[in-house]
Point group: C2
């Protein structure tokens, strides 16, 4: 979804309302969006097969493509589970669980698998593919979004790596603030500020920034040691910068 554009289910719902059709507009919207997603999922597969690669390259790429789809869906489900069960499970292990969600839902899909897919299609050897994995998971393995969380994420109650760090080292008082405010749809700017203070005061922000710096080091060392030529190496270095710069 591009920012500023309504999501698919909202557009189908609006179409239903505008036409004055019978039945529930929100159900129509949901069903339409699910079908549009299914179509895109099917078509991505057809586009890949018909993109003009040699049959044996397509064959190699398919293994990555299939793993990517399955792990993305698994990651999305892990995310749902974590949002639903995080409060119940408590702070122990929350950082590791949040990192796992980011890894499966974002890091693999956005960085690792695209690199592996390109590498496989071009006939990269096992060693280079392994370097792509290490690089891809490091550069995006944490924490997804850096800097201050947006008010909307806090209102939604998103269980991010940053929040998991905060909860893991919160005092009783700070934990109570998170419990009370995180996920409150009516959270105002004073509430947002209070939550942000907890993120700073617990050391969560500093902790995540240290983690990112550590992962950037891993990514850069991997790049430097990998059997890469230019312009690939430079492009991947730029990716590290793009993926880890604070959005602030």
């Amino acid at each position: 979804v591009r920012r500023g554009q309504p999501a698919a289910h909202r557009r189908f719902e609006a179409m239903h309302a505008q036409a004055g059709w019978a039945g529930s507009g929100s159900r129509f919207g949901l069903a339409g969006a699910v079908l549009a997603g299914d179509l895109c999922l099917s078509w991505s597969d057809e586009l890949f097969a018909r993109a003009g690669f040699a049959p044996d390259a397509v064959q190699r790429g398919r293994t990555v493509f299939n793993t990517m789809r399955t792990q993305l869906m698994g990651g999305q489900y892990l995310d749902m589970l974590e949002q639903a069960s995080c409060a119940q499970q408590g702070p122990a292990g929350a950082v590791e669980r949040a990192r796992r969600v980011v890894r499966f839902k974002s890091a693999k899909y956005s960085i690792e698998h695209p690199l592996l897919l390109g590498g496989s299609l071009a006939g990269a050897d096992e060693a280079l593919l392994a370097d792509y994995s290490t690089f891809g998971l490091a550069v995006f393995g944490d924490p997804g979004e850096t800097g201050k969380p947006a008010g909307d994420d806090l209102r939604e109650g998103k269980r991010t790596v940053l929040m998991a760090y905060a909860v893991a080292s919160a005092t009783t008082e700070q934990a109570a603030v998170v419990e009370r405010l995180l996920g409150d749809p009516a959270l105002d700017s004073a509430g947002v500020e209070q939550l942000r203070e907890v993120l700073v005061d617990t050391g969560a922000l500093a902790g995540v920034e240290a983690l990112i710096a550590e992962q950037v080091d891993v990514a850069c060392q991997t790049l430097d040691a990998a059997a890469l030529t230019e312009p690939a190496r430079a492009a991947l270095h730029e990716l590290v910068v793009a993926a880890t710069t604070r959005r602030s």
Copy 2:
């Protein structure tokens, strides 16, 4: 969904309730079911590719497989559109529209494409594939479900071919009965009986039965003329019987 088994979204919802998780159980259920569906859609594709057919057979079959997926999703969307807009569009063209939904949502997916898929994998020639299409669309092209509609279909307000026939030749009084009762979730057995009377009295039931008989003729003639051997011919004749027997 097997009868008696809750649908996927209900099972995810029940899991959410049983665990006492946070957030909306119905949203969790919907999202879980969508992901399960996406996984199955992806895996169907992988199973097809790895079923052990020769590469050139898989290639031929993929064209059918891809068309099948896309047309099924299109058929499902046509069905949603028809349910939502049927009352507004009125009786003109309703029979044709309802038949088109059955054709894309059921006939192609349940009969035509499976025959074409098997035929393509086995190397059938164009003429036999054309006969499969004619046969497949005839035997299931109308009207999906024969005999008396179940109370649940009437409560859901399902716009079937049978109902389209009824509306097309209803008197003002009969049309008012349909308008008032079809899709009423609280419809009782007296209401079900009233709707069924309209289906009989308008001649819709007889009309649909005549249509089925006509289509069975087309299917059987196509079978008899097709370049088929036994046991294929006999099996397809049995399919005609199975697909057109009243469930009553």
